[in-house]
Structure formats: structure tokens, C-alpha cells
């Protein structure tokens, strides 16, 4: 051991250096809210939540149709067909007006692998994975999602912003399929429902 | 009532009962003036064919009338030759005189009007059929005189 090292040890030079760094960072942290350059990367979860990126695949929800207040789902079963973990159960029946009624739409969340194939498969944009990810619980029961629970999920975790979410993230949507201009018109008038020409580029991950 | 003997006579001419369907329907139409559901049911019974078969055939051919017709049926041609010689004017005239719309019946139930596709009388256009009588070389006066003959 050299003389130099001994002196350093005796005078706690290294420790003081380290503490100085700590003090510097500490002071920076104290001043951070007032400074231009944000330097803190740690989040104080769960007080401070990380915003989910567009297309984050969290808890499931059924889209509420703003026109009727009911679920958009018609029970076509494509989500159940595509689901690799077979965790979607749909039960339909005939309603009083001979219409198709979705009696039960259930997702066994614990078996879900969050691939979001169901969302892609749905021709009506009726099922979605919300950005909500905090749903740990102590029993299995809360993870069995019924239609009512799934609709509540929509209200709580998606709501209004959900419609944008479909427009700008899940592309192509059904509305994007259209013919070319100058199509021959066979009969009757061309339907007025023009496809929304809105921008189709997505915010993507950078949003 | 449909004359069963006549129906049998028609049936005898064809190897299959279904073959007799068109002439039997014509017979019924002649009898009743139009093919009412009852008339079709009667044909179905007479030929021992399902009602649906009879109805299917009756609704396919334009020659069968499925709405009640007047006492006399005017069938007027408005194809090219007749049109050039003014058949359309005659149609308008009928509307004016008797309130006849194409496909309709006059209020007093005297005439029914049907627009025919070519009746093969282009050389003597315009022409029309009243019931089964053929009247060529029509003009505004002639058509009126002819029709006055049908009460």
C-alpha cells in the first residue's frame, strides 16, 4: 500500500467524493421541478403512473355503442375463433324482434395472452384492450369478465378517448375498405355514406 | 268453376302433368279474367301439382294477370314501329278518355290497359289487341270507334 493510499483512507477522501456526488444529485432533484432539463427517470409508482402507449394491451373492454348505449358486439364469434388461448365465450340467442341478442360475452382474463387478435378480428371494433393494467387481485373471481364488467371497463378506462383510439390506432378499420373512384353504378343512387378520408397515419409508439 | 273436362283434355296432350300447366293457366285466366289465388288453387287441384309450382309459373310469365282486369283488355303496342306512328299518343288519349293508366283498369271496370311488346303488326302500325281481336292501322278517331264497340 503506498503512502498516497494510506492518506486517502485516513482522510475518507473516497467517501467524501461519493457523498459529494450524492449531495449534488440530491440538490439537483430538489431543484428539478424548477429547472429546464428534467433529469429524473424514476417514477414514484403507484403515486405516479406511467401513461400507456397507444395500443397498449391491458384489461379487456367491450365498446359501448354511443347511439344505443349497448355493446357494439353482435356476437359473430370471430374473436373467439381467433383467440389462441380460447378464453372468449359468447352466447347468443334470438330476441323478441327476431334480432340476434348477445346474452353473454365472457373473457377469462387469466388465460388471455394479450395478443389482441380479438381486437384485430372484430369486424365492428367492438372489443378492445384498454391501457388499464392495474387489476391484480386476491381471488380468481374478478378475472372472469362478464359482459357487464367489460362494458364498465370501457366506461372507466376508455370512454370517449376510445373512439379516437380505434380511428387512429387500429388500422385499417372497416371504414377504410372502399372502391376506386369512377365505379360503375349498378342500381339506385350511390350511398351517401362516404368513407372518412381522415388521416390514417398513426401516432404509433412515439405518441 | 274451371271446366275439368277441358283441363283433362289439355293434360292428355302432354306427356307430363307439368306440361299442361301453361295452357291450364290460360284457361283459368280466360274463365276468370285474371288469376286470382283461388283460380291458381283450382288449377293446382285440377293438375295435382303443388300450389307453389302453379304460383311460381304464374308469376314468372308476364302474360298472366294477377290483378283483377276489366271486362275488356286492351293491349297496345308501343314498340318502335307503332311508336313512330303515334302509339304513345293513343295511350295518352286512352288516359284522357277513360282514365286508363298502363297496367290499370278504368273505374267502371270496362277496360284494362296493358302495354305490349311488339305484336308483330309493324306493317300496319300502330296496332292493338282488344281481348283477342286484332285492330291495325289505328288513329285517334278509329281507336275511339273501335272501343265504343266494346261495352
Amino acid at each position: 500500500m503506498s503512502m498516497n493510499e494510506i492518506v486517502k483512507k485516513l482522510l475518507f477522501i473516497e467517501i467524501i467524493k461519493g457523498l459529494a456526488l450524492t449531495l449534488r444529485v440530491f440538490m439537483k432533484g430538489l431543484l428539478d421541478p424548477f429547472s429546464e432539463k428534467k433529469t429524473i427517470v424514476t417514477r414514484r409508482y403507484p403515486k405516479e403512473k406511467r401513461p400507456a402507449a397507444m395500443g397498449f394491451r391491458g384489461l379487456h373492454a367491450l365498446v359501448r355503442n354511443p347511439a344505443t348505449g349497448e355493446a357494439k358486439c353482435v356476437g359473430c364469434g370471430l374473436c373467439a375463433a381467433i383467440c389462441p388461448s380460447r378464453c372468449i365465450y359468447i352466447y347468443t340467442s334470438e330476441g323478441t324482434e327476431h334480432q340476434k341478442v348477445v346474452d353473454r360475452y365472457e373473457i377469462e382474463v387469466l388465460r388471455c395472452v394479450y395478443c389482441a387478435f380479438c381486437v384485430e378480428a372484430c369486424p365492428y371494433g367492438a372489443v378492445v384492450l384498454t391501457p388499464h393494467y392495474e387489476y391484480a387481485d386476491y381471488s380468481r373471481e374478478p378475472f372472469y369478465m362478464t359482459k357487464e364488467k367489460l362494458l364498465q371497463n370501457w366506461d372507466r378506462f376508455m370512454g370517449e378517448k376510445g373512439y379516437d383510439y380505434f380511428d387512429s390506432f387500429w388500422n385499417p378499420g372497416t371504414g377504410h375498405f372502399k372502391g376506386y373512384e369512377g365505379q360503375a353504378v349498378f342500381r339506385g343512387k350511390r350511398k351517401t355514406e362516404q368513407v372518412d378520408e381522415k388521416k390514417t397515419d398513426t401516432g404509433g409508439e412515439s405518441a | 268453376m274451371l271446366d275439368r273436362e277441358k283441363v283433362r283434355e289439355i293434360v292428355r296432350k302432354y306427356p307430363e302433368r307439368r306440361g299442361a300447366l301453361l295452357p291450364a293457366l290460360h284457361l283459368a285466366q280466360k274463365e276468370y279474367g285474371w288469376l286470382s289465388p283461388e283460380a291458381m288453387k283450382e288449377v293446382s287441384r285440377a293438375l295435382n301439382l303443388p300450389e307453389a309450382t302453379v304460383k311460381g309459373v304464374a308469376t314468372f310469365y308476364a302474360m298472366y294477370r294477377r290483378v283483377p282486369a276489366g271486362r275488356h283488355l286492351i293491349q297496345i303496342c308501343t314498340n318502335v314501329a307503332c311508336m313512330i306512328f303515334g302509339a304513345e299518343r293513343l295511350v295518352d288519349l286512352l288516359k284522357e278518355r277513360y282514365g286508363l293508366e298502363p297496367g290499370g283498369t278504368s273505374e267502371d271496370g270496362r277496360f284494362s290497359l296493358m302495354i305490349m311488346e311488339c305484336i308483330g303488326a309493324c306493317d300496319r302500325a300502330p296496332a292493338m289487341l282488344v281481348n283477342e281481336d286484332y285492330h291495325p292501322d289505328l288513329n285517334e278517331e278509329r281507336i275511339m270507334t273501335i272501343l265504343e264497340g266494346y261495352k
Binding site: 364469434g77 347468443t92 341478442v101 342500381r187 339506385g188 350511390r190 | 307453389a52 302453379v54 308469376t59
Partner: protein
Amino acid sequence: MIELTIDGKLIQAEKGSTILQIAKANNIKIPHLCWDRRLKPYGGCRLCLVEVEGQRKLLAACSTPAENGMVIKTDTPVLRKARKTVLELLLVHHPLDCPICDKAGECDLQDLAYQYGPSEGRFYAERKHDPEATSPLIERNPNRCILCGRCVRVCWEHQGVGAINLIGRGFNTKISPAFEETLDCEFCGQCVDACPVGALGTKPYKYRARAWFLESTDTICPYCSVGCTLTLDLREGKILRVRGMDGVGVNEGDLCGKGRFGFDFIYSEGRLTKPLLRKNGEFQEVDWEEALYYIAERLRDIKETHGPEKIGAIGSARTTLEDDIMLARFFREVLGSDNIDSSARLGYAWALKGMEDTLGIKSNPVSLNSPIGKEVVLVLESDITSTHPIFGLKFLEAMHEGTEVIVVDPRKTKLARRGNRWLRNRPGTITPFLYGITHLAMKEGVHLKKDITAEGLDELEDGLREYTPGKVSELTGIDEDLFREVALRFINAESRLLTLTLGAAENQKGLETIHAAANLLMLLGEGPEALQIPSDYSNTYGAWLAGLRPLSGGKDLYGMLYTPGSLKALYVMGEDPLVTMPDAGTIEENLKDLELLIVQDIRLSETGKLAHVVLPASSWAEKEGSFINSQGIRQMLPKVVSTTGDSIADWKIFRNIARVMGHDLGTVEFSQLKEEAGKIVPEEGTRKWRFIPPEWEGLARTTEEYPILMVTGNIMQHSGSLSVMSKSLSHVLSDAFVQISPEDAGRFRIGDGEFIEITSPKGTVYIKARVSDEIPEGMLFVPLHFAHARVNLLTEVSRDGKALLTPVRIGPRKGNGGSPAG
């Protein structure tokens, strides 16, 4: 044989077959929508277009006969473009409601659109917006229809019904019954299977599941003895629908309404879930242990005090072969009683006896395809298209191929309407009709052409002397010349077939009819193949072969049910004698006298209500087993769904009772029973022919007091008392009715739908009247299926197989029901 090339493959084929048929046989896929194996080529959809070398145009493969040396291409860019265009045009009208449509996932149009698919339509679509037409069982959605006409053609060409047709023309064409009314047909549902899109669907299945949620299992139909293969579609262990699979099973994909819609009897609310034991006059639910110990004890008591010959059993024509074997073994080995019989005694047993008497055979399995290729087929007072619908279809098929189908029946049945010739005889006079033909055959000396070695010919000739055409005409009510013409046609035909049914529910034919039919055929030199008598129900024949009949001098059904005091204990398995057997009054009295009545059934039957113990059995589809159909083919049934409540399979119940009684029957496992059942073979007879002289006793006598003859039988939508449990079939028909001719309705002042009173010497019942020109004057036709009508209170039973038509009198219902107008 011709040789042609399809897609570069050299193929040999039968001359006369179409390109599509050859391609199908050689696994070359050509798309098609309007083609159906069972129908004549139609060439409507233009999807099966193929390129043939040397032909300028594309040809429709379904309707172009293949020729020698043809070079055919089935998949070229040109064809793909043509097919794509066809699909595009179809999709102009076809709504894209696949997410809602029940057909999605198994839709031909969807599959083809996916295969060739225009993802962009060049046309703006005009869709139809017609309302859906509902009916009890079949849903029509005209908007989805592509007008291929398969349903129409199946209904008319194949089923011979013609309930629907293409009505209208052009864009407005739609498939509909004649006058837009609710569909009123047989409800066979063949149109639903034929529909390539979702325009036709079954109501019970509507919106219940998507095609990809279903698992399919094949099983055998529990209703009639044809033994059709049903394809059950299940979701999560529940049967949702039944389909016929093209080419699968004896039925090759054809099904009737009972098979297609009648499966839901297993989900009936009336199913028994627990054993019921009568305590102080009331039924109480008990557990199996208590019920079994009670039965064991009582049976032991009765056996000891009265002897085993006082214990009897009635088996079922619908339980599996394995169940039947177990019942027979339980009775013979444990109880030592030979008093075992089944409902076959009242019908099919007489057919077998009749054939043994004459043709010397102990079994005569029918062959479904027997009518095809015959010159003349004679159907004798039998509504085969109702009782054995798929066998009935073969008669229509034969007719299309040139067979002359002659129907002799007082009722205007489907075959009577569609057959080449229909003779309306008086009810119950088919026997003299046959005598008449036989007489004529003898007179014409036809038999001399064949070597007839059978004995009894002289007696027959003697006995038939009086049955001259004139006399027969007088007896049967058929015009003499017509009779002579038909008889000679039958006699002089190159090949011929006689067919009739003989069932417990029918009372216008009997042993003497079988004798007469066999006499005639033997005289004409025909063997047993020319006499086709199908057994009643799914396992009637099997029950007979499994030994559900007295084998060593035991009491038969007549001895057990109709002889007072003959039994002290009766075990009834899966049968409801009070509903399905004649003279219910006598049966009821005898049942009430019993010390012990055990009824083992899937629901609390009318007979069960009189029982001391009722045991819940698991039904069809809830247990493994096998049926022997009328062709003598043993077909296995898998267990498809779980059992209802505490019910267990019939054979297990017998095993358990035997165990409680201290016997080990040796059979513990199903596999052993299955093996045993596999060893059952039909008995051979001596094959020695013998003529039986005529024994007909004359027309059923109507009197001043009882002027009308009542005929009982089965109808299309129901079969025995089982089908009444089915909700779907009950939607079509749930109430008892009696068919009456318009003439009689006028004479007795009875209106359609009114309740009438039918009185025979045995009693009176009240029942709804249906005026129908299917019935001749002086006859009533009553289906026996409905327990509440108690029609069989009126009928009589004959112990020697005689046909016993019941003379009755009718009148408007009197008393508080309110007298109808008139």
C-alpha cells in the same frame, strides 16, 4: 367406358356421367352452388364452368355430359375471372351480414368469395329488405337468397312435396310458399341442408352458436327403423342441431323432420331425474339405493309366493340392443321368468309370422334401395313416407327412374298424390284386393309359367274362387276395370315389389294381409326380396332378435296386458302401453290389479303414473349402445351428452338390481354386452314355401249405430309417444286430432277445428276434428301419439293378428264444451 383428361390427368369414366360427377369422383374440385347430388342438373349458378379444348365457350360442368377424348381444364386464369365475376354479381344483392348470419363459417358462397373473392365490388348494391319469414321450425331470410333453387328442387324433385317455389321474376323473385303464408309442409328441413347460403335455417338453432363453436358427432336416429345417421352438432356438451351429411349413413344425408328436429326430447322438462317410489299413494323422490332394495325385495316376495311365471316384462322398441339383452338376461337368469315381450308383438311380429308361414323365413330385412329399378311397385295401405320417411323417398326416386308406383290406400298420402297411380279402396280392404290379384293371376295362368312346388296351391285356388274382379271391386270400392288393369300390370311386370308397414299403431292390416301378399308373390315366382315390410321403430327388430319375446312358452304381450290376473308383477322398460297400444281401457284395469308395477322410462309416462316404482333411465345420446335397423344392420350409437339427473343406462339398472338381489349376471362392463350383442344373428328359416288359403273375415262391420270406421296410425311429425316430448316437433303439432272427410263433416255437421265426440262400444273420447280431403267418406284417421286424447280407449285388440278397424259414431261435442254451430 370413356377416357378423358381433366387438368392433365387421364381419367376413365362411365359414359353418360357429367364432367362434374367425374371430377368429384376423382377428387378434382370444381366450385358449384346450385348442383346437388340428388337432383337433376340445373346449370343455374355458372360457377362450375370449365374449359374444354376445342369449345369456344366455357361449359357448365354440372350439365355437360363427358365425352370420349375431352380435354378439360378446371382452373385457368380465364375460369378464375369468370367465376370471380359470377360471385361479384351474386354479391351485388347478397347482404354482407355474415357476422350475424348463422351460416357463416360453413357457407358455400362465403368460402367461394374468400377463394376467388372480389375484395372490391364494381357495382353499388341494391339489397333486398324483405322481412324474415318465420315458421315453427324453418326460417326463411329472402334477402340472403341467391336464387339457386336448390331448396325448391329438393322439396319437389326429391321430397315430392313442392311447398316452396321461386315466386315472381327478376330482381323481385323470392323463395316462398304459394301465397306468402306461413310454411306448412312436412318440416323435413331438407331445404335447410340444401341451402348453400344462410337464406334458410332452422329455428331452434337460430342465433344459438357459430359454426366454429360446434363439435360434430355422428349417431343413429332414435325414431323409425330406417336407422339414419344423424350428425349432431354440440356446443359445450349440448346438442344444438342435427344435420344430414351428404353420403353418410344408410340415409346418405337425407333426413326427415323427426330426425332433424326431434332430438330435443332429451332436454324435455318432463325428464325423470330421480327414482320415484309410491309411498301412501303418492310418489316420492328417493335415491337409487332405496328404490333398488324395494324392487329387489318385492320381486323376491312375489317370486316366492306366486312363482316366477307371475312376473312379466315389456321391453322397448327404442332402447338399445345392449339394454334389451340385459332385460332378457335379468328376467331369464335372475327371476327365471320367460314372460317377456315388446310392442313388436302387435305389428312386426305378425309380419315375421306371416312370412314364416308362407315363405319359410324367420327374418326378412328390407333393403332401402329395393324399389329402384323395379318395373312396378305396389304400396298397400301404408303411408311409408310418414312412418319410414327415408325409405319412402326411395319410392319417389324409383319413380323418377321409371318405376311405376301404384298406391292402394283410402288416404291420400304423399305417395298417393305423387305416385303414378292411386287407387282409393275402402279402409281395411287391402287383403281382398290382394286376393283379387292372386285370383286373376291364377285365371290368367301366370303361375303355370313357373314351377311351383309349394304346397297348398289347390286350397288357395279353391279359396280364391269367389274373389273375382267384380267381387273385389264390390268389396274394395275400386272400379272393376281399373282393378283389372292394375292387377294385370302387376302380374305381367318383369320385376315387382310389394310393400306395406305393420305397426302397433296401425289397425287396418294384419296377419292375413301378409299371407295374401306372400301368396301372390310366391305364385308369381318372387322371393322374399319382393316383399318389403320395415319394422316399426329404431330397435324393434333388435329387441326381437335380442330375445324380448317369450322363447320357451312364456306369456306374450296379449297374455300379460290383456288377460286379467295373469300377472302379479310387471316390469315395463321404455314403453307406454296406455298410449301406444290398443284397448287401453283393459290394459289400465289389468295394470291397476298388479301388486308391483315397475316402470323404467326417461319421463313419467301415462303407464308410469300407475306404477309403484318409476326408475329414471338415461335416454338416447346419453348412453352407448346399438340399434338394429330394419335392414338388419347393427349400428353403434356413441354417448354424446351427459346423463340427466340421476338417471342411468337401462342395462346398468338391471345389473344393479341383480346385484342387490344377490346375483352376479357376469356382465359388468359395457364392452362385454357389446360383444354379446355383436353375436346376434337373424334366424334362418326352412325357406320352404307354403300357400295359406284365404282367411279374410270380411269388411269391418259398420252398423247403424256405429257408421264410421276409425283407422289409427302414425303421422309424419310424430312417432310413437316419444316424439311428443320434443318441443320442436310439438311446435308443428302438439294437439291430438282426427281427420274426417268433408262429406262426413257435412253429414254430421262438424266444422274444421271443432271438438267432436267419438264413441265406440268401448267408450267415448273428445278430440279436435280436421276436415281433410285426404280421407274418404266413412273413415276417420286418428294419430295415436297424444296421451291426452286417449284414442286407444276405443280400439280393440286381436290376438290372432287380425286387422281390427274400429266402427265408431261421431257427433259434435255435447255438454259444457259448447255445441258448435250448425
